[in-house]
Symmetry: C4
Subunit: 238 residues, 4 copies
Amino acid sequence: MSALPALIDDLVAANRILAGLNVLDGFGHVSVRHPGDPNRYLLSRSLAPELVTPADIMTFDLASNAQDDDTRTPYQERFIHGEIYKRRPDVQAVVHSHAATVVPFAVSSVKLRPIYHMSSFLRAGASVFEIRERFKMTDMLIRNNDQGAALAEKLGDDAVVLMRGHGFCATGESIPVAVYRAYYTQSNAALQQQAIALGGSVTYLEPEEAERADATNRSVIMRPWSLWRAKFYAQGSN
Amino acid sequence: MSALPALIDDLVAANRILAGLNVLDGFGHVSVRHPGDPNRYLLSRSLAPELVTPADIMTFDLASNAQDDDTRTPYQERFIHGEIYKRRPDVQAVVHSHAATVVPFAVSSVKLRPIYHMSSFLRAGASVFEIRERFKMTDMLIRNNDQGAALAEKLGDDAVVLMRGHGFCATGESIPVAVYRAYYTQSNAALQQQAIALGGSVTYLEPEEAERADATNRSVIMRPWSLWRAKFYAQGSN
Amino acid sequence: MSALPALIDDLVAANRILAGLNVLDGFGHVSVRHPGDPNRYLLSRSLAPELVTPADIMTFDLASNAQDDDTRTPYQERFIHGEIYKRRPDVQAVVHSHAATVVPFAVSSVKLRPIYHMSSFLRAGASVFEIRERFKMTDMLIRNNDQGAALAEKLGDDAVVLMRGHGFCATGESIPVAVYRAYYTQSNAALQQQAIALGGSVTYLEPEEAERADATNRSVIMRPWSLWRAKFYAQGSN
Amino acid sequence: MSALPALIDDLVAANRILAGLNVLDGFGHVSVRHPGDPNRYLLSRSLAPELVTPADIMTFDLASNAQDDDTRTPYQERFIHGEIYKRRPDVQAVVHSHAATVVPFAVSSVKLRPIYHMSSFLRAGASVFEIRERFKMTDMLIRNNDQGAALAEKLGDDAVVLMRGHGFCATGESIPVAVYRAYYTQSNAALQQQAIALGGSVTYLEPEEAERADATNRSVIMRPWSLWRAKFYAQGSN
């Protein structure tokens, strides 16, 4: 449990970093599983990520109920986080984003696929969650545990899932990995867009290349994380 | 009437925010209906939005005549604002912009349509005002009440109208809503551009999805507004 | 002649502004005709525009010979400026740029045409100077008066001329007008690129619309100029 | 050997400049051949380029073994540098990058070709190294001398080589030339992308134009270098 303040500091840093990298703007959020209780997770109250401080972090159970009689307004879409943590014990951090380069792939019949080693976590390509399939006409948000569970089911064993008419979620075994994947999902989308627009044939990573590269990337994850903390959260202590 | 100084502060903030978000550059403007008199509106004198201060705000009647013997130079296109307020009692704030991503849709036969929940206010897609239809060869500006009325007529009951060879207008029931819509019109245009360029089929929001999402977005409008004030108008008081 | 220090200050401001607006990077330059002698012009010594100060400004005759025994290294392409001033008595300022959005139109068979009122100075579209036509294989630079004269001839009575495999020149009756045109040439290129990529039909300004809009824009030229000076050259005095 | 501290200062500047120009992010690296021993080269320890200081510079032999009992963690891909220096005595500096605009050309059948004089070092177009050809399924990195040698062989006598699913390398006879080429490879890729998207025919530089322009550009290399040092490494001393 002594790891908690350091983890909250990393979670605040993740909010600032993702805003600094334009993965999040006034909307979107990032969470981490509680280091002392796998059935809880930590997430800011409803607030623009760039403004989040340690005091804004709330604790939720996996049904996304606020703990400790915390009555502050939570994000409406916190069920994304709870249901992914429930279904995926390997996942320790989740980012939900509307990043501009990714949304086009969430509304297109063209699949987001890994174009270079940096986004090898996309493997055979990202699935797209179509909320209409089970929930018909909605306001497009994940507003309850049923909708969160359907999204988590579409994610399956992947690292990333797109959401039609909405955005995407990136997951990882730590905050730095989830932040890395959110950022490089954004980068890959921009690169794939450009590669397609060139009009020639495009070579994507082979699944085996992707698998090998993903393992390598996770081994050097602290390099970009250290840079991003220094650039976007220099005031942080850890 | 005691709400006036606070509203002027928000209007100045809106000018700085829209410049900071690249919705406005040296040109374009944002107005608000007078809180004490629905037949008047507030708008800066002719000045780049990024430089606007409370002392620059002028008052106009709905025929766009300056009030209080104010002889400072007004924007040439203030008639946009007066005529929209005249026709649309529900509208309390109006943004006029030449934002780069939107102009292509104002000159193309391809319609701007809502690609994700953030821009659900676009509903079935934005109409394009063609000034040639009634006014033949012009300098493209809205220079009088007749032209303003024709533009307001094209806007109809929508939130946004594009202007061929020119730009667009976004409206809302408050300054934060109009600013939000101007910003996400810009974002949607960029996203739709990219989605089309991917070459596959594109799924837009259904009208019912758009209607529901718009209601939701208006309920959380203060989240991006607070962020934008903090980022682009920290020196403001309110 | 008393106008000289103020004009040099504006010329330095133009260098900083064009760098700030990404119209110029480490290369490119901006000049002004001498206020006291129409057969001379003012241009920085060979230096990145963002670093130019009043002390760096040199004087040239229209054959682009440095005056006043000034032995500092001039830009290799100063002949662009001298030959345009020689041929076009109405031109008082010239910008030469490699701006990223414009170069594609300088190498494409697709013509740069005015898409909105802000770039109405493009009229029926910008001509492209092909240096190979008269000079065969070169290093692509305008290195002497013959090449400068050929470029000025291609410019003709237009405001802007593109240069194949190189960049473009924008001219105006004052520094603010030339800077405005360089900036909005860049903007128009980006917008036209996007409009074409949408795949539908594109409506360009009619020549009469362009002519009228250009007159209007020149009447409000100090609005963006004041903004740009405040943003990119606040330290200037005038 | 007295040139060493000045060269290390330039190498640190190059790291900061390339990060500032978005050629490098958390990944990528830049090296220089040792000024006193052509069989050694200088390269930072494994660190994001934006954070590199003089104390982080390590020395390697051309087999990419760390010298002076330096046990700090080196970049995994240092073999890129060693093998290029081994094969190309004219090369004094090497940049390895994943720059966003270039990667699409590294995965597309469309060749990166020089669109304007600034990128004339691309000559007849950049080759693409396909690691699968000799090494089958990998994690896409250059992890040993064999892979580095194969990459250097593909580079041949060119200035730039692309790497499929990965990025590119730019070389030069000095740090400023290699940095210039890395930056303008990035620029050329963006411009060529846009020129192709316009849909018309595209005119590339002729080989003779490219050769002449490259010689010219190298003669004014200190102009952008001075700007970049001032902007991104003002704190440096030299």
